[in-house]
């Protein structure tokens, strides 16, 4: 049984390790601040958001957050060391600036002064250390434990400086610190209280009923003056897509996420609302076990890659809210995106040709799907099966239960449905899901050339060279990889016309990178 028995299933289920952070060689130190929309934001009003998720087990413990209700709720009351801006760049938040040792093993973070907690205290280095330490150590049950595990030592150097020592060089460290599990919370005796709502973010909590709603009011001492325009927030769990839509249409909420795509076109006819959609790096895919026959033969993989109509999937599964994928997890918005790769289009003859090269006339394979795999996976499977017939490929769609899908099916069955929340950088994406031996290498792919290039790219500081390396890697993945990536899926939100949004809306997560509560305002 899934956590989201009800409703359309969560996109963010897999949390941290599938999220991505931009890692640009040039972006190690960036000034705070970002480009805002031209219109001057107005203050005031209570923003009401209807979420597709929300469970009675939702709580204040940062180690266990995993649905967008708690994720947005967290961003509403907390600040983090760093923040991914709407344009994908990294900016400082609690950390004013940061500096690495040449081997990137020691990081010195400068804590911004004058940030206050809702309860009154000022954010100090000790708070930061306690907040991060909460996720470390053998007793930690935090989902962010793997992120902070490489930290060997944290110490303060005065109230505004934190020095972090890592077990190995990691140029990504400041990005990692923007992870939503790592809010800065007040420390007492060197420990944070994981059951407390106290934070240094834009809103403070008035009331929280897990699985039902949360209401917040603006934190009067919030340090950012150009952000957090609402007087208050009301976050509502509306798992049923119809309930969510109706709440928006009847004006009971101002914003909803995960609009039901089946009816989005009808909903958008309503003149009092608009549909907001951003395409980031979130993609849906069908990874196969490249160790097992018949998927160990690249000809079979290629045949399968030519046996599906990607545009049809974007049209029918995403209702156009997305983009065609080319079996390459790197999305068009990314810095090193290889736009000139040959496209793996729907071509039954070509698929047959590749099948022939594999010595086969026809192919019978099973594809395991579940709605937790990605929303619409079952339908996508049906479409795939329908189109593959023309190439002599018989795909049996096996619908697995949502419950236990990630433990019993994904990476257990030879061919499954899966999704990635998106990665802003090539290295992060590749090293998580395509490097040989990586725990989430869901296709068990092992390509020597690719693995060599990955190490080179990570240590390479020259932009042009990096671009070349990543270009080649993308070509290899697209042609030889074990993952069929038919489409990139947009985040689709319904927004009342009373709500104004900036020109650039974050695509790294739903609801403007979870920061709609801070970045949007009432027109």
């Amino acid at each position: 049984m899934t956590k989201h028995l009800i409703g359309q299933g969560g996109m963010t289920r897999r949390g941290l390790l599938k999220s991505g952070m931009a890692m640009t060689a040039a972006g190690l130190v960036l000034p705070a601040g970002m480009a805002m929309a031209q219109t001057e934001p107005k203050k005031g009003g209570t923003l009401r958001i209807g979420f597709n998720s929300g469970s009675t087990t939702d709580n204040y413990d940062p180690g266990v957050w995993d649905t967008n209700f708690v994720q947005v709720f967290a961003q509403a009351r907390h600040n983090y060391l760093t923040e991914i801006a709407a344009d994908g760049s990294l900016v400082g938040e609690v950390a004013e600036s940061w500096e690495a040792s040449p081997d990137a093993m020691t990081w010195t973070l400068k804590i911004r002064s004058g940030i206050t907690f809702h309860s009154g205290g000022t954010v100090t280095a000790d708070d930061v250390i306690a907040s991060i330490n909460y996720h470390r150590g053998p007793e930690s049950t935090s989902a962010a434990k793997p992120i902070v595990d490489p930290i060997v030592e944290m110490k303060s150097d005065g109230p505004n400086t934190v020095i972090v020592k890592l077990s190995g060089g990691n140029a990504d460290f400041p990005y990692l610190m923007s992870d939503y599990h790592l809010p800065i919370m007040p420390a007492k005796d060197g420990k944070i209280d994981p059951t407390s709502p106290d934070g240094c973010g834009p809103y403070k909590v008035d009331d929280f009923e897990p699985g039902i709603s949360a209401s917040l009011t603006r934190h009067s001492g919030y340090w950012k003056t150009d952000r957090a325009h609402f007087d208050g927030l009301l976050l509502l769990a509306l798992p049923d897509p119809v309930a969510r839509q109706n709440a928006l249409l009847t004006g009971q909420v101002d914003v909803i996420n995960q609009v039901d795509l089946t009816t989005v076109s009808m909903m958008s006819r309503n003149s009092s609302i608009r549909v907001l959609s951003v395409t980031g790096n979130q993609h849906f895919c069908f990874p196969m076990d490249t160790r097992a026959a018949p998927f160990d033969d690249n000809n079979v993989r290629l045949a399968l890659k030519h046996a599906l109509d990607r545009q049809e999937m974007v049209d029918k599964i995403l209702y156009g809210y997305g983009a065609v994928g080319n079996d390459n997890p790197i999305g068009p918005t990314q810095q090193y995106y290889a736009a000139d790769l040959p496209v793996n289009g729907y071509d039954p003859d070509k698929a047959k040709f590749h099948l022939g090269k594999a010595g086969l006339d026809s192919l019978d394979v099973s594809l395991w799907v579940a709605e937790t795999g990605f929303t619409g996976a079952t339908d996508a499977g049906s479409l795939y099966a329908e189109r593959a017939k023309a190439a002599g490929i018989n795909i049996t769609v096996e619908r697995a239960p949502n419950d236990g899908y990630w433990s019993n099916v994904w990476m257990q069955k030879p061919w499954v449905a899966s999704y990635w929340g998106g990665r802003a950088t090539c290295d992060w994406m590749f090293s998580t899901a395509y490097a040989a031996g990586a725990p989430w290498n869901e296709s068990y792919w092992d390509n020597e050339r690719f693995n060599t290039l990955l190490l080179q790219g990570r240590s390479e500081l020259d932009d042009a060279k990096r671009a070349e390396i990543y270009h080649e890697m993308q070509a290899i993945v697209s042609n030889e990889g074990g993952v069929v990536i038919p489409m990139f899926a947009s985040f689709v939100m319904g927004v009342s016309n009373a709500v104004a949004t900036p020109d650039v809306v974050g695509a790294n997560w739903d609801l403007d990178g979870f920061r709609a509560v801070e970045r949007w305002w009432f027109a």
């Binding site: 009800i6 049950t141 419950d403």
Partner: protein, 317 residues
């Protein structure tokens, strides 16, 4: 009257036995569920290390019979334990939602029971008339649509025009009047769902008696059809009617998950579903026992009422 008390006593004892069987069944079932609380809490990001740590903290490593015994010992002392997933006492978690669930059930019952009985009596009175056939066909149609479908249709008609809200939001300051207004659509949906059953049973129970000699006697005494039905048939048809009402009341308390989801109504059903998916056994047990108690008590109430309204059982020779 003593016999009634004895019956109540016996039935309550049986009810306790029933609840015990249920708790074993449910505990067994939750044990069989794939995955466990730790895995569900940590989600996909779980590692073996964090799982082991959490299992140790939650005491999930104890053998199942021991955990059941600990739970049972607590319950026998009136302590339903803590929800392990939320680390809150069960009573706190369940309390408010139980109130909401009962409110909705009573609200729907207050609409549905009089409506169904009235329709049933009228259908029996005017049996085989257009009214009878039409109400029967409509009632059947209403129950043959899935609940969420009925709910969506009502939303289309009554919520989108702004007449009634499509979602229920209960805060500390919500007044009863506001509750009645907000919960109208869910209550109406439930009314449509349960009316048919009660109405058909009422009609059948009454018509079933119309061939009785005492009904003919009443007619031969020159009583009007209305009086024949109300005064002579209905009092004797009470037992099946009370039973079907009790059954439907039990359903209104225990079976409204779908309605809760559609109307965002914070009741026990949603909590139950969440608890099942989280493998939060103590919560699952507590809610199942509440539901089962409701069922047992309503059935008992029905039997007591049937007895009280039946002179043959109340006044022995």
């Amino acid at each position: 009257m003593n016999e009634i008390w004895r019956m109540i006593g016996q039935r309550l004892l049986l009810g306790v036995l029933t609840l015990f069987i249920i708790s074993v069944v449910i505990f067994g079932a939750t044990e069989l569920l794939p995955g466990d609380l730790a895995r569900e809490l940590l989600g996909q990001s779980a590692t073996e290390e964090t799982l082991a740590a959490l299992r140790e903290q939650l005491g999930l490593n104890d053998p199942a019979p021991l955990r059941y015994w600990n739970w049972l010992a607590g319950v026998l002392q009136g302590d339903f334990g803590m929800s392990m997933a939320t680390q809150k006492p069960i009573s706190e978690l369940v309390g408010a939602r139980l109130g909401n669930t009962l409110f909705l059930a009573l609200y729907a019952a207050a609409l549905a029971v009089p409506f169904a009985l009235l329709l049933g009596v009228l259908a029996a009175l005017w049996r085989n008339s257009i009214f009878d056939r039409a109400s029967n066909a409509l009632a059947l149609t209403a129950i043959s649509f899935p609940e969420f479908f009925v709910a969506y249709t009502l939303i289309l008609w009554l919520a989108q025009s702004g007449l009634f809200p499509s979602m229920v939001r209960i805060t500390g300051s919500t007044t009863t009047g506001e509750m009645l207004y907000m919960a109208f659509l869910p209550a109406l949906t439930l009314t449509l769902v349960v009316t048919a059953h009660m109405m058909r049973m009422t009609r059948a129970a009454i018509i079933n008696l119309l061939a009785s000699p005492y009904i003919e006697m009443a007619r031969l005494k020159g009583m009007s059809p209305m009086r024949v039905v109300l005064r002579h048939a209905v009092p004797n048809a009470l037992a099946p009617i009370i039973n079907v009402v009790a059954l439907n009341l039990a359903y209104l308390i225990t079976g409204v998950v779908v309605i809760e989801v559609v109307f965002v109504y914070p009741g026990l059903g949603q909590l139950m579903i969440d608890a099942v998916s989280n493998r939060d056994i103590a919560v699952v047990q507590a809610i199942t026992l509440i539901f089962a108690s409701a069922y047992v008590l309503l059935n008992l109430l029905a039997d007591v009422l049937s007895t009280i309204t039946n002179p043959r059982l109340m006044h022995r020779k």
